[in-house]
Symmetry: D2
Subunit: 406 residues, 4 copies
């Protein structure tokens, strides 16, 4: 056991931080505000494409894809990637610059792991090159989708095709103009055993019958230019070969993607929270009230100390989960993955909220990233399963383990 | 001591609830969503003007103005008005329909209490009739404005005029097209004793030198069509008679307006929280997960019970503050007013947040009022002084009282 | 609606506070410490008997018994008694001085309401005169007794007698030497409908077969000289006339006693919390650290303010529950009674804990009442049903009401 | 970075757990209850001496003393010792069996690090052999002792002696019959610079002028047979050679002992919390209420999951602090040591409290270790400096670091 990052991570972290300092923080405000009343909210601004080229040239590219997928990706373990993901999380939109943004990362991992050669050539490669983007259509408005057996979208075999009918929302990524492909979760056989009913299938955005109805807001934010789409599927027909891994494997694929996906969200949120804390520390030094800098108020010091303890603990837990995934696989690590999904978003909400309070009205405004970070953190308490579902599974597992231990 | 509303209140509450059921809830969704990408976000929609007429016809008009200002207003005590304010709070934009929305209410009360006859004729009367709206320019970006001695805007006497220079933001109300007048807080004499430096002055929106720079966001919301403006004052010149009550009286006026203003915000937030709880109770009956309605989960019942306890306690505290203001005046009631300002916004944040969690993705969307209510509640933890300032004052006062008691 | 105590209450409160100042606070420390290693921990100290006489002489006697039981008791409504109960709660052992201590109050109320003439003459009258004390044997070690259907103690009819067998613990009051009688809850008919199985019966402490096994600790305290006993009932035989109200009425009686019982505990705990807050305010004025009195630390002021808000809110909720019981009866008030049972003990734990922290090591010691108050508050989160049971019932009721409202 | 214990730790942990299973858990209840009304509360029971011999024979002895003090101690790093300390913490009195209990550990470390040869021979060696015990006299009743400049005890040089006058309390260890020596903190020069005023000196318990006045309670517990003493020092005279390290070095010595001392308390508390969680998991499987085992209640699962997350995070943070102490020394690790002192006791209070709630009345009784563990955890929120002092220092340090980073 020891607690210091290895050299590979330290070197990449320095390089990444330098990139952020030079290229990302300076444009953060103008980038974010460019979407206020923008006529083209779903078009990725040109600056991002420029920075993507620069990042790729520096080798800061596809860092998320674990070593098992080499030559795809940068060959980092989850533990090595985690601190980099945290650094990107400090500016939520920056992940895209390094081709490390959700839901593309999860989609690429699914294709790298389970995709056929054709699927890889057609979709994985342009995604890895950052030429297109992708969506993941899982959540449905009418049912509690965190319980996969509730999914109502149907995927019906008709000769050499599948026909998809359903209603999705919060399909992240699907508003963006560069989004060309979606992975859709639906049921191929509602009569099969509980976890064999679901399948995942590739659906190009321009397939007839796909209607993007509107962007969904998340705590007041539309998250331009990525967005979360409400989508209707009306007899959407795709070739049979678009199915991933085969009928009835949808739940299995979902399980596979969720581990890394959750780690990534947690590390980004730890980045948000750490940034919020850093900003708070700077703010309280500059701001005076009632005759002295806020930094000298005991209440401020107590709050800063508590925020730090919360961030650091969540970070260590997430790193341990990453380490366990690397050593023992996602299945063994499932309790730890549940634990970080419970801990990190709630921690981030709390820490960012406190930082907002220390910033006063400014903290609620469009002039800092804090309010947007809060919305992101709050949303992740629901995305990929609400806190309560993870607590249910973790609690059950812990109680069972204790029984076995007796 | 007893805990039941009097007949006047009960009758008005019934009438108001019936109005809300018939006219407001049915248009809530379409009204709110009409501002998504609206070309005229700062124009009050016509439906509001229609409903204002209807409300006025029914006597549901200017309910906020205490009996001491009769014949202005409806002659209700704070205690009688509080439950009505709560009902309006269930749909945050609805206050305007009854000419009871901030910051107009505070401005009208200031004018009724301290205004000269000319000021009343020119500004109070059109405001009471709902023909124009108004802004209140207090907060400044560069200083901690909750400490009034920090205010940097200058109001300088030049012959028969005052010349105003300064920089304000979060000037609520000032984005709206019908906003014709602002009350501006500034310093007429920075060398006077601490609480005699400030003055308040009437500034018509169309005065040369007034530049509305942009709308400020509050946790991702622009709060159309009312908005919060950033405003520059560059040698803005108004007649000397525009000063309210006289030079050096600004702090005193601010104190006078804050009591009722805070009660109103608190009651609206209690309305938000109660509505969120009501919505949560309905949601958990309808939604199934893991084989049974959420309503049958022990964790959901515990959460609902706790939410109810929180709402009810904050309500009672706020009603007690209203009663004490009515009986003993705002000054005697100042500790209780501080207490509700500490309690109600934080309570509303917590309860609404919990209701969002029970709604899943829907709770974060534009399809319920919950996310907007959360933003409102969160903002009020900073508006009219951050929680910490009220805690400082209340804590100090309690410790001192204990010393005297010895 | 108004929030000021009536004259009767105000007058009695003044008298009671004066009594406390003169007679109780001065002996508090010596009284409490007299039990450290006392050879006679279960004997009520003589000073209590002296003060009981004095209190009775002043008319501060049996204040708890509502007006419906006149001529028994002082004829106060629950709302009138509540503030007096709070004052007694400031020194937990003081209730006994005014013959207002649990479980005697509940037992007296049961006998006044449901007792036969013989039962009243034999047990109620000496209790009302403070000549004897009593116990209430409800909780059992082997089952979750908050679910009354789990009760395992049997009460079997045999000719003109009942024979009781069972195992109880936390039988409050039963360690005291003056405890002469217990009310025992058991099952007369385990095959009857769910809430008709239970009966309550009077069992004199000296009945053969009653074995007081040991005093039970509550968070480290034995609560001398009252105590909580573990008791075995081995073929304990009492006359059939000892049954209260009749067979199968036990649940009904329990329901009847719980409303007032819970209000009393809540008011006492509010007294504890208010006292803890008062002590904290005094402490922070006297104590210096790092160059200034704690009272000038912003964090201390924030904490004091929050404690006050918590106490005051719980007080108002409890008073509202008392008012509703007086006006509409315990049944209508059941949701409010559940609410205060959820709120007050948890609030008291939090506030007292905070006061302990402000006192440093002293706060954990035997030299202030704080640690003992904490233990009392913590215990009440479990006694008369754990928080979770009250939340279950209240949550269920609120969700159902919302359904009916639709 | 990796998160698995090394082989040395794993092997010792297994051995220690086996010892606990075989020798300690079986006597836990009888041991604890033997102090209820014991005539000899301050005499260590014979069973402990027997187990000490057995533990020493197995090499489970003096595990706490870091490798730098070899040949004293077992030569473990802080990181290696931490998990063992956690295992002992599961039964708070068990540390003594392995000669690893406070305040002896801190006293031994001070003597090993700073003691003269005579001091080592006279006091360190019998302590290392477990033949005597020791006390640490720091806290004073009259001042906030967490601010060392407040210490009022005087240590005056008179020829070849020092004369000590003062008033201490919560001198841990000093009630025990085997306690032969105290380290006393006092001021040799109140006029010296702030952190050069204090000295530490060895005072045999039987020195004339030392009066042990009484045992102090900690949240209702006297913690027999170790205890916390109130002690008067009345012209207590000891040889000059009893001073440790020299005059004016007391603050420096205190700093040196606090790092390890805090780590140990934190690890023990993590052991308490983990045990409480394990017990809760077992309890909820066995206990039924309202028709099903508590283990199947969603609220119970949520609570168990949250408890686990809290324990695991605090454990990782503490292990990181231990690792940093080992690698970079106590001074570099000071922020992390402050962080765990803030986190672990509060976490333990919360987790143990929740476990008590799941146990019902049993949880508050003398029949489980839970209530005692709670008292221990609560006390540590004050011992070695209240939470607020650590937050002050950590918050200040973090804000300063952020300034430097700019």
């Amino acid at each position: 056991m020891h607690f210091e990052y290895n050299d590979k991570t330290t070197t990449l972290a320095k390089k990444l931080s330098a990139f952020m300092e030079k290229h990302v923080y300076p444009i953060e405000q103008s980038y974010t505000q460019s979407f206020l009343n923008s006529p083209t909210p779903w078009k990725t601004p040109a600056i991002i494409d420029e920075l993507k080229e620069e990042a790729r040239a520096q080798g800061l590219w596809n860092l998320f894809l674990p070593e098992e997928y080499l030559p795809y990706g940068a060959g980092l373990s989850n533990l090595e990637y985690a601190p980099l993901c945290e650094i990107m999380g400090r500016v939520p939109f920056s992940s895209e610059i390094f081709n490390c943004s959700a839901p593309d990362t999860g989609n690429m991992e699914v294709l790298a792991k389970y995709g056929s050669d054709t699927q890889k050539a057609t979709w994985l490669e342009p995604l890895l090159e950052g030429r297109i983007r992708s969506g993941f259509a899982m959540t449905e408005p009418d049912v509690a989708s965190s319980d996969a057996t509730n999914i109502e979208t149907s995927i019906e075999k008709k000769q050499d095709s599948y026909v998809i009918n359903g209603h999705k929302w919060y399909t992240s990524g699907a508003m963006n103009e560069d989004c060309k492909i979606m992975i859709v979760m639906g049921k191929t056989d509602p009569t099969a055993p509980r976890h064999k009913q679901q399948s995942q299938i590739l659906v190009p955005m321009d397939t007839p019958g796909v209607t993007v109805r509107r962007p969904m807001a998340a705590m007041g934010y539309l998250d331009e230019p990525v967005g979360h789409a409400e989508i209707l599927f009306d007899n959407v027909t795709v070739p049979a070969e678009n199915i991933i891994l085969g009928e009835g494997r949808g739940f299995e694929i979902a399980q596979g993607r969720l581990g890394p996906g959750r780690i990534h969200h947690c590390m980004r949120l730890i980045g948000c929270a750490q940034r919020a804390l850093d900003m708070a520390c700077q703010r309280v030094n500059q701001r005076e009230a009632f005759g002295k800098p806020l930094a000298k108020q005991q209440s401020v010091r107590e709050s800063v100390a508590q925020m730090h303890c919360d961030v650091e603990q969540a970070r260590l837990l997430t790193l341990k989960a990453a380490d366990q995934m690397d050593r023992h696989g996602n299945k063994v690590a499932k309790d730890l993955i549940a634990a970080i999904k419970i801990v990190a978003p709630a921690m981030a909400c709390k820490v960012i909220d406190e930082a907002i309070q220390m910033h006063g009205a400014l903290g609620t405004s469009q002039d800092t990233p804090l309010a947007g970070m809060y919305a992101y953190a709050r949303t992740i308490r629901l995305a990929d399963g609400p806190d309560q579902v993870h607590m249910m599974q973790l609690g059950k597992s812990l109680i069972e383990k204790q029984q076995e231990a007796k």
